[in-house]
């Protein structure tokens, strides 16, 4: 067994003086992000006429991205927090990645709903004139709360590692980094009292974040569920969105695990076992997602109300949305069950590949939630310019979507340069057999 500073010393090598390669990578990402900033400036200057949104499809991929990124953030909320609370030891190496996903996707995803605003200069009106009756206000409150909690949790789980980095002899980093570690470690010395309090803080935050995340995503689903629109007006949307979010979050976590395993040579810590266990979770979520999707469509389809049938028809016609719908069904429900369900298909690479497709297909699903119902109002669209009837994304929206993804990668790149991507202190708790694992307390025991 390695002792504490050995493991940290090993992983801290990744944190030392960035290479030329690293700088190039960061520069590329920054350039992509700047393209997005440019697109946003153009949009503010010229108005939303340069997006693909029009009077019927008033929302487009910005809203789809918003739901999508918020969904990815469930990786941290569900995986990290529930593993923390349930004291699941094998998952310790994954916790920090999951938490980073949560924070980065929340930071990047939340603004997408703001890009839909025609008047970004009046954004403060949301606070000045805020009405609690509006689901948008619910979202603003819930998501900002969720973000603050998740950042706090991410920081709490870093404190012990920051302390280790501060105390690590011979760490080849610049002076300001050393100072920063000292500052961020909050004078943590590992005294029993500090340990106890920090552990309690972890538990409390984890216990708060799980319901907060569920509430935040349910409120988000009610942006749609509260509408009278066929395709949106659904009582199942709250739990459906939550399951979808967990599904995409876990799939995304698998992709991040694979990337770090390869790029940082972490085969020793992120093992076959982790991928397999996550795949089992993914199977459960596939079935849960399939169940919700089925019950959502079957109840709408069975009754054949006219407005609803017009929408459902579009999912079956190829010039409309049949291709996207087929892609979504195959890669969220059929392929995952086959590939993950049979042991001879299951490998680290195949699990990751399936996860990639799940994440893409779930983005497509979000697009199908947002756009087709908007194009299918109660009164069929007649008297509109023909090129305004259908939504098609413009270069502005595509650029901003790509730059959002780049920003997530950038956050990961920088965060994992600041602290090891594997929570060292947590792993040492498991490895150090002399210390008993902290168990659940029950009254009288």
């Amino acid at each position: 067994m390695e002792n504490s500073s050995d493991l940290m010393r090993k992983l801290a090598r990744n944190l030392e003086k960035p290479s030329m390669q690293w700088y190039t990578w960061v520069t590329i990402l920054c350039i992509i992000v700047l393209f997005g900033v440019y697109a946003l400036i153009r949009q503010i200057q010229e108005g939303q006429i340069i997006t693909g949104m029009r009077d019927n499809a008033v929302w487009g991929i910005y809203t789809a991205n918003f739901i999508f990124f918020m969904g990815l953030s469930y990786a941290g909320a569900i995986v990290s927090c529930s593993f923390q609370l349930l004291r699941i030891q094998w998952a310790k190496p994954l916790l920090r990645m999951a938490e980073l996903i949560t924070v980065s996707t929340l930071i990047v995803g939340a603004p997408y709903i703001l890009f839909c605003l025609g008047r970004l200069d009046r954004i403060h009106y949301l606070l000045v004139f805020g009405r609690i009756q509006s689901p948008i206000t619910w979202d603003v409150i819930a998501i900002s709360t969720d973000l603050i909690f998740c950042i706090a949790f991410l920081y709490f789980t870093h404190i012990r590692d920051f302390a280790k980095l501060r105390d690590l002899e011979g760490l080849n980093v610049s002076k300001w980094r050393k100072k920063l570690y000292g500052f961020l470690a909050l004078n943590y010395r590992g005294t029993p009292l500090q340990k106890k309090y920090l552990h309690q803080a972890h538990d409390i935050m984890a216990a708060i974040i799980i319901p907060t995340a569920v509430i935040a995503y349910s409120l988000l689903s009610w942006l749609f569920g509260m509408s009278l629109k066929p395709g949106w007006h659904s009582t199942i949307f709250g739990p459906y969105f939550v399951v979808t979010a967990a599904y995409s979050g876990v799939a995304f976590l698998i992709i991040i695990m694979w990337l770090y395993r390869k790029s940082r040579k972490l085969e020793e810590y992120i093992t076959n076992k982790h991928f397999n266990y996550m795949a089992f979770g993914l199977i459960l979520l596939t079935m849960g997602y399939g169940y919700f999707t089925f019950s959502e469509y079957i109840t709408d389809w069975y009754n054949q109300t006219s407005a609803m049938s017009r929408l459902l028809e579009k999912f079956l016609i190829f010039p409309e949305y049949a291709a996207l719908q087929l892609f979504h069904v195959i890669f969220t429900m059929v392929v995952p069950l086959i590939v993950l369900g049979f042991p001879w298909f299951r490998s680290i690479n195949s699990i990751t590949l399936v996860s990639v497709f799940i994440v893409i297909a779930l983005w497509v699903k979000r697009y199908l939630i947002v756009v087709p119902p908007l194009e299918t109002p109660f009164i069929p669209i007649q008297d509109v310019r023909p090129d305004w009837v259908h939504y098609s994304m413009s270069w502005v929206e595509i650029t901003m979507t790509i730059s959002g993804m780049a920003l997530i990668v950038l956050i990961f790149t920088i965060a994992s340069k600041l602290a090891p991507i594997i929570p060292v202190a947590e792993i040492e708790d498991v490895q150090d057999e002399s210390k008993p694992v902290i168990r659940f307390k029950t009254k009288g025991v």
Partner: protein, 326 residues
Amino acid sequence: MDNKEDNKKNRRNFLKNGLTIGGSMLALGMGSAAAEDSSGNGKSSGKKIKVLTTDGKVLEVDEPKDDCRIDPCAPPKGKAARHGIPGRSFVMVIDLARCQNARKCIEGCQKGHNLSPDQEWLNVYLMKDHKEGEPYWFPRQCFHCDIPPCVKVCPVGATYKRQDNIVLVDFDRCIGCKFCMTACPYSVRIFNWEKPPESDVPKEEYSPESSVPGQIGTVSKCDFCPDRSREGKLPYCASGCPMGAIYFGDKNEDAVSNGTETLRFKKLIRDRVGYRYLDELGTEPNVYYLPPVERMFDYKSGLKGLPEEKQEVYRSIIEGETTNND
């Protein structure tokens, strides 16, 4: 002299003269508010005129100045524009038997509200209720619902319901989130995707009641022209319709007018089986439709002169088997 007899005589006279356009405007624009004004506060022209109340009594009141029927005359700004005209309960009745898709209502509205050609606050739809149904033209304004889904969801209170039934948008407050557009089941609202056309009205004179000038990045929609009501005029669409298909009026006065005739609202709805579009959604609209029975025109007359691409859209509806509406 016997007061009763005098009243009767007056009434006979009044009815004999018929309800002229001016009279109908009066019924619209004045009512009790104007009657209280009889002491004269500088807004009257000095002449006396007779008006008929809803319960059949004749009152003699000062004739207001032509440009101002409701106090205050100018459309109010800011907070005052959120209250609405006191004692009013605006309502619209559309006689589907008279609509020919002349589109003069749209033109009048676009001109009056300084809208670009792509922006239509009211649309005329070709409806076919079921396979056997005969298509008919269906003008659709904002329904100014009593339980407006759009107002519910607005995060900043930029769109609001007033006590005179009208739902307005305050362009100065709208943040352009378009949530109201997704909430409206009647596809009423439109967005200013680009800079709206230049307006003669300076920005300082903007009032949510006049809805001019528009602002980029905000939502706009039919406003029932309360600024015109203040002047005793009908909304642009009602006064623009050559067929007189659009009646506008006040539920409290129980009177609606299309500019040439003024009718009792309740009686009209009762006699002609007025209905509200998609009433089952529970939004309580304030626009009523009279079913297209005993039509004045064949619906085909509304297709003449339309561009080919429009004809294409309408043809699919005429030939379509699926129900179009609801």
